[in-house]
Amino acid sequence: MKEIDFKHKMAAHCETGTVTSLLNHKGLDITEPMVFGLSSGIFFGYFESSNFPFPTFIVRNKPGSIRTNISKRLGVKFYTKKFRSDKEGEGTLNELILKDIPTAVQVDFYYMDYMPDYQRVHINVHFVNIIGMNDSSYLISDSYFPKKSELKKTTMQKARFAGGYMEPKGFLFYPEYIPEEIDFEKAIIKAIKKNAFYMLKLPVPFVGIKGMRKFARKVTDWPNIARDVDHLSHEIMRINILLEDQGTGGAGFRYLYATFLQQAADIVKDDGLKDMSKRMMEIGDNWRNISYFAAKIGKNRDLGPERLKELSEMINARADEEYKFFNDLNKLVK
């Protein structure tokens, strides 16, 4: 097995994890929370679409925008490529590995067969770093897995060229250029302003704070669209998965963002940001209470109208808190 000298480490999230590891490998000393915050990663969106089997919500910005925003804010240049032909996609990846360039690829998570079966779902926006190969397998550094893993090349081809919603088309990237001087202070302020805009002012009724309120309204209707009580229980318990287990660092990325604000406060030398970081940590704790609550009522099949109303009120309370938080944060960085 040819193996690139690459430090594998777990991360909260796959995209921030791959980007952070690649930047570290290229010599930039940056943390995962800083990558997340600088790319204005915190978000909320409630979606009802036939792309998903059931209404769902997201708690981070659009897949791919961690890399693009880091590029904009820090001036890092990434080599990126999509492919029409899977053969060409495989050939290019292999050439990069032979040149000792660790490379991130976008894949359908379902094919990552080193993960436990119960976790594997079809989602086309998982990112892993490829850090070695032999004739039949790739060596993978997946932020969600404690160790480096091997994956058959044929399986990786299926994962990189799965069709469907947000199809990867063999997408790969790696950092080509990192500026010698980076103005982190300026980048932090810009990223925070943008994030406040996403949460407060995007004129779309299902994103940001408006998205949370929509989620709070709609969750009480979920019994009408679930197949049966077990299905409803499954979807309610998925709230916990989406907030805690699907690569968020806990509490739907709120803890990760709190950590970013604490690190940012040191760079910008602003104690106001430190206070905001504490507030965000508390908001995270309250989201985590929703996670526990959803898991408990789902397990107990305690899913009557009163209980779902309670859940809805908890979500609305988070919307109130975050509305105030992002307004205050916006004022602080103006």
Binding site: P33, S50, Y118, H122, G163, E244, D245, G250
Partner: protein, 158 residues
């Protein structure tokens, strides 16, 4: 969240959480999944129950194998339709047995690829009670003919 309040002992699913440490700094720690530690049995129980119910419907011809895998693999209709190269309307038709039997083999092959199963799995259900005891393994080996697999039942490697 404080570090001391987080730790969950569950080795099969380790996650990174960001927490408040003793010195008031925030940073990453590794912990097991709370949900999997406490509720994985419930998840698997629901899944098994659903699988059995769908199997019964499949045996009675009330649903097609496409619907079976659509539900079991938790696909969105639009996502699966796009992978199979059909419209959502067609996909809904293919979920019924009477339309499934009229489907061209080429389209069926596309569905099989989306579900990552051999074609033959649309037409039979192989139940092997001893499989879970690890006494033997079942493998579908691909051949140069994309419409043909060799199913190999082997003694499990010790």
């Amino acid at each position: 969240m404080k570090e001391k309040d987080l730790y969950v002992d569950f080795k099969p699913q380790q996650l990174i959480y960001y927490v408040e440490k003793d010195d008031a700094s925030y940073g990453p720690v590794v912990s097991g999944s709370y949900l999997s530690k406490h509720y994985l049995d419930d998840f698997i129980g629901k899944r098994n129950k659903q699988e059995l119910a769908l199997r019964e419907q499949l045996k009675k011809g009330e649903i097609s194998p496409i619907y079976y895998y659509l539900v079991m693999q938790e696909y969105g209709e639009k996502d699966l339709a796009s992978r199979a190269g059909v419209s959502v309307r067609k996909l809904k038709q293919h979920c019924k047995m009477e339309n499934f039997v009229k489907m061209p083999l080429k389209v069926l092959k596309k569905y099989a690829e989306a579900f990552d199963i051999p074609l033959v799995n649309f037409f039979h259900l192989l139940i092997a009670k001893q499989e879970s005891t690890g006494k033997f393994s079942i493998q579908h080996l691909e051949t140069d003919n994309p419409y043909f697999v060799v199913t190999k039942i082997d003694e499990a490697k010790k």
